[in-house]
Amino acid sequence: MPSDHTYAELLDLNAWIRKNSDAFHWQCTARTVQESKLFPVNPYIAMSYLNAWYRYPSLFRTLEQTMTAEELGDRAREVSSASGIIQNGIIPQFYLGGRQILIDMGMLRPTDALDDVAYVLDFTKRLNLSYHRHHAHILPSDAGHRAQVLPERVVQVFHADAFGVKPGDRLHTAAGRFLAQLSQYAFLSHCECRLGINNSGPYKIGESGEMLVRDVVDLAEGDYPWLDGVAAEVAFNNYTMPVILKDTHFSIVDDWASFEATPSYSHDNVTAIGLYTSDYLSDGYVPVAMDNPATLADFLEHEREVLAKATSDLWNVMAGWTREQLVDSGLLVYYAVPKDLFHIAGIYDQSDWMLVEDRAQRFKPLMNDEYGRDLIAELVGYISLTSQQGNDYTMSKHSGAPGDMWSTIPYSVLADDEFTRGVGPIRSGSTSLPAKSSTWTTTEGRLTLDDANRRAAALRPLPAQEPYRFLDDRWIKDHPGDERAEELYRHTQRRSRLLAGKGAGLSGADIEVLRA
């Protein structure tokens, strides 16, 4: 019986699958296969793909009963959380990774779980289109590795309120040390992966400056149970540090929210910084200790000490873990990349994100270090698995290899080929890790999960409400004096030191005058 999907739908889905293949291949080969003496990284990556395959379809269908992918993208764009560039973009990659492993094992055919595959891919496409609405690309790689996700009204606040610094200043020094410690802690809290670190931009500042917005997320007591206790003193779950640099061009801000600069990023070239926090409850960015440069330096110096202690304490915990605990923690960080979408919708459930389903658990006996390493290397690097091979004339986008990372859906399902619809409902799961016991650290304080979900469900951020939701920068251009534009800008500016109440009429040059 032919599928009820249309030809146009499958054409679009297969193009999205192929875009994901090409984009992920560039990222994976640029960043190399990751390794660690502490964490069995590649085994946990492979396990995360399998967990995603079995669980994402049901979870996303439930999510969209509360909030659509498009609205989730709109909400996520207004804050810095674990629903950023890398997380939103990588959801389909992990899901397709699970599918490809199972196809290569002969446990699945590309015609299987057709409705699930179509739905998950469509969901992720709509999510990313919405999240990246401002620059109207679906991934940073489509923009030549540039990620200008923020509208003018947000960038203006970051620009205006950033404190000027120069090498040798107390604040300049404190910011550099804070960023180093923050990065170190984020790699550890995320079990060796980069999912805690997001960068967006760059944004042009004057003639020779560029701003990079540096986000580091999921730092405090929250979703990851291993942060209970050790992260009790970490003040905020998410930090955003806009940094303005002179004489530096950010040539790459990629699909994993990593950056490269020409010349190389040097803290000596940082001329201004700010610090903010935000999350699914904050309705925009909240300045942190931004009263004056001294208060910010005080905070950064203190918080660096807090993070240094949390790093040592957490390392001591992790150094005592079993191999299974090290695998479970990493695989859950990877698998849980969509989790903040559920926070935004107010339906986050710890059992949805911190358990390994039985259908994935059964693969653990295979996951020795060498198999994990070689499977991931072949799957996303060499494109050398038999299931990935195309005909002899095929040359894939970046490598010219005769194959592609993710298998497309055969069009034969539109004719007389058989297919299956899905993987069925979520089954029971388990974890070797201790259960979550603490509260959740949010911008509204430390909350129980029920309270956090209730507040999130009740939140109606102005920029996500109609008519403001659809007042983008192109509309602003033609309506600079419109009261709706003024209201939208004043809302974003309401916590700004220099721009509060200034409205929609300012240019970049006006901001420079205000900063002088």
């Binding site: 640029a30 990751q34 390794e35 990284v41 802690y185 020795n368 060498e370 290397a377 038999t386």
Partner: protein, 241 residues
Amino acid sequence: MSSDAHALTEKWAKKAMTPTVEAFHSRIRARVAERLAASGKSWEEAVADPDLELTVDDFTAVEQEFLDTGYRFEMSAQISLEEAPEKYRAPSGIQDTGTAQTDEDGNRIVGTGANVFRVPADVVGTARLVSTVDVVLDMLTNGVPDDTIAIIDDSGGTLTAPILQSFTGVVCMGGTVRSHLGILTREYGVPCLMDARLDGLHDGDRIKVEYTKPPVDVYATENDPSARARIVKLEGTSDAE
């Protein structure tokens, strides 16, 4: 649809590049095909039938069959070898071929690597192997010895997380300048070589590392041998016992 053995008859097929993937996946395909044939069901019926699913016992058997051939896995994480030494090969140490060349001052060149960022002067220090949790724990407890140039066989950022900033320099035997360790050393301002190839370096050797070399450009000079920074052993000066 037929109940053919999937993937065994596909066009444009090829073997996996690596022995473990080929061994595991070919064995799993065979089990799927056997189970499908024995069931008498179509693929669509079988793939949705929980009673026909491969179980943890199947995957345990797949691994055991491969181990029974005498194959032993390469380890990556230290814990893997500790918990299942019967499954893994012991890691090989730093090679010493005895063929290392000397620099213009007559010092033995014991390695080269990709410089992460440039510093004003080359760095002299004591090479100390940092590749286990126990070594890190000792340094965390008792302090990192002065002038330590950490020799690390792990391009990740977690093993050395609590002590990284205390190193005088880092030489990493893996990864690239864009690996997590490269990113972190740049943030901390700790001089670092990535992708180091070592020959004749021993724990405790007094070494000088050419951190003044321009940073490697991954798009231009990554594969250029002349762009690699050198590590030389300062002869007659070793803390090795």
